[in-house]
Symmetry: C2
Subunit: 352 residues, 2 copies
DNA sequence: CTGTTAGCGCATTCAT
DNA sequence: ATGAATGCGCTAACAG
């Protein structure tokens, strides 16, 4: 079903049909109804490829994400999809599994696919070859979760968030606090969060702290278990993301520890599932859907206005602290009375 | 950068350039190298819209899913993305939030987007208007998770799986078993699973069972809690999916019950996260990524061969039982000794 | 308000 | 092995 056939059936010109769909106002009400009726009958739908070719804009956004298996990015993609739909754009998502080579391939494929712009989550904006390609093609893009002065970014203040989380744990009496992260080289977020942890600890004069990197999910729980099996084990863990926090809770359980009675565990990301866990996950929440939504809206606005996306206009969205049940006062802390523990179970003494 | 410009720079015809990319063998090695070198320099990438328009095939697959916020579909989409990439296809995913109207809109949008075929998860294949549209457009498609004699489907045997799960729980001494599901009308899977539950219970002469529908996630935990607060409360719950199982564990916790000591809870779906939970989720696993992968491979094979997708060739992928820690012997069962309970903690007495 | 025409970038005849 | 010409379906000038 092409515009030509429809035009023939409706006994009007192709241009009129085109106007009916693109500028309804520029057509008399009569002919508009007429054309629409026949279009309905014939099941006519304007062909996107032809339109893209002609207008040089595809109404498609390329999306580059590390993975969909981490709910953080699934939630973000959900936000992206919503915003894109609202703005009349389709999305073409590609996952990279944190592999730099695939980031670059993804960008090349999306350029070839004729996308109007991209939203991407890369590992390291500073050194990304994918971004070089993007600039070479002078395609508009927004980075989500990443943060870098030379690129337009939508993210949260990872460093400050973790500094604040450390302060909360310290206020709960914790002194031996460890930081658990995935592969640090895999993302700038992980590095920012670790930096925040170190700064936060030093700010409280706690300079002998542990940072544990658990690169492989297969062995993560064992590695964390080993840390918890030491005599001077930490009384609290700050985890670089919620999935690691969940595994840490499991590691603690396998080590015979109860969360939060024996050890407090905090996450980062605010995945929705964390609310439903037992114990409910205490975590730093980012507005994942909003990060996706805002990235798209900013990109679309730039596309519409023709204005370039200015890196200095990058947005930091607010983080927050979700009071769950996985953090409470330190076991050896003076305030760690029975009353305090019971209260923690009702979520009132969580870091707040 | 168009083929014309590249041809001019390389001092060959457009046709030759086209051959270099589509039929490298039909060009002499010399000119091929020459053209490729210049293409590299100029950063030439064949334009997808133009190619689609010309060849009438876009190398894009439309994907229609209920939501990405349930890890089941995120995992499935991951499998879809992998298989599509391997076959040289891009994907255009749209989520519908279980709304029939949006299923239909999605299909129309994807038809207009010129996709070569679709993989979709619909609510009710039997009555789906979206599928009508698809047949009207005579576009190849495969249904994932759905199961219906008139459509090509890739799914698991939901009914049998739940029957078997009931048998396992009965073998563990459970008699008062309840079934918890989301909105039954929202999907054929939910109905199949419930049917399996009823059959499974009757097969053991347990005809007084409870089926609880918790349509709204906001109140789900409270609704389940109410069920658990009754005197003759169930000793085991079979949940229609893993997210509900996780919420049930929480509901049990809030009701002062410990899982699995006081109550056993089983899920359905096998989301990866379930392994890392505490207690690890006992659940019926489906091969979510494989469901996505197989759907794509079948669709792509049909596209390549021109053969239609025969509904009777629908595939049932094998389900399995993941032995977690959320199920054990019934509290009032004779075999529910201390030893049995301890063993259950080490995952050896889970339904198996 | 409506019709005619040209061309977006490419793959594919048909020549050579 | 290579080149010239055509049209996929559509929109945007321009003409009327």
């Amino acid at each position: 079903m092409s515009i030509k056939q429809l035009a023939a059936r409706a006994d009007v010109s192709m241009a009129t049909v085109s106007r009916v769909f693109n500028f309804p106002d520029k057509v008399s009400a009569d002919t508009r109804q007429h054309v629409l009726r026949i279009a309905q009958e014939l099941g006519y739908l304007p062909n996107a490829s032809a339109r893209s070719l002609r207008t040089q804009c595809s109404k498609v956004l390329g999306i580059v994400l590390p993975t969909l298996l981490n709910p953080v990015f699934a939630e973000c993609l959900d936000g992206i999809a919503q915003a894109a739909r609202a703005a009349g754009y389709a999305i073409l998502p590609i996952t990279t599994d944190y592999e730099l080579e695939r980031e670059e391939q993804a960008v090349l494929q999306l350029i070839a696919a004729d996308v109007d712009g991209m939203v991407l989550v890369v590992s390291q904006p500073a050194t990304s070859r994918a971004l070089d390609r993007l600039r070479a093609a002078s395609l508009p893009y927004v980075l989500a979760y990443n943060r870098h002065a030379d690129h337009p970014c939508v993210s949260v203040d990872n460093e400050t968030a973790v500094i604040e989380m450390v302060a909360r744990l310290v206020a709960l009496g914790h002194r031996r606090i460890a930081f658990i992260s995935g592969e640090l080289a895999a993302s700038d977020r992980a590095l920012q969060r670790q930096r925040g942890f170190c700064e936060g600890m030093q700010a409280h004069g706690l300079d002998t702290y542990v940072c544990l990197e658990v690169p492989f999910i297969e062995t993560a729980i064992q590695d964390i278990g080993a840390l918890l099996d030491t005599p001077g084990r930490p009384t609290a863990l700050v985890c670089s993301n919620d999935l690691i926090a969940i595994r840490s809770i499991r590691a603690a359980h396998l080590a015979g520890l109860t969360v939060p009675r024996d050890i407090s565990i905090a996450g980062f990301d605010g995945i929705a599932l964390g609310r439903d866990l037992t114990p409910a996950l205490s975590t730093i929440t980012q507005p994942n859907q909003a990060i996706g939504r805002d990235s798209v809206q900013w990109l679309v606005a730039a596309l519409a206005s023709g204005q370039p996306l200015a890196p200095h206009a990058s947005r930091l969205l607010p983080h927050a602290f979700r009071t769950g049940e996985s953090c409470t006062t330190a076991p050896d802390s003076p305030s760690s009375s029975r009353r305090a523990r019971v209260a923690s179970l009702t979520s009132t003494l969580d870091p707040s």
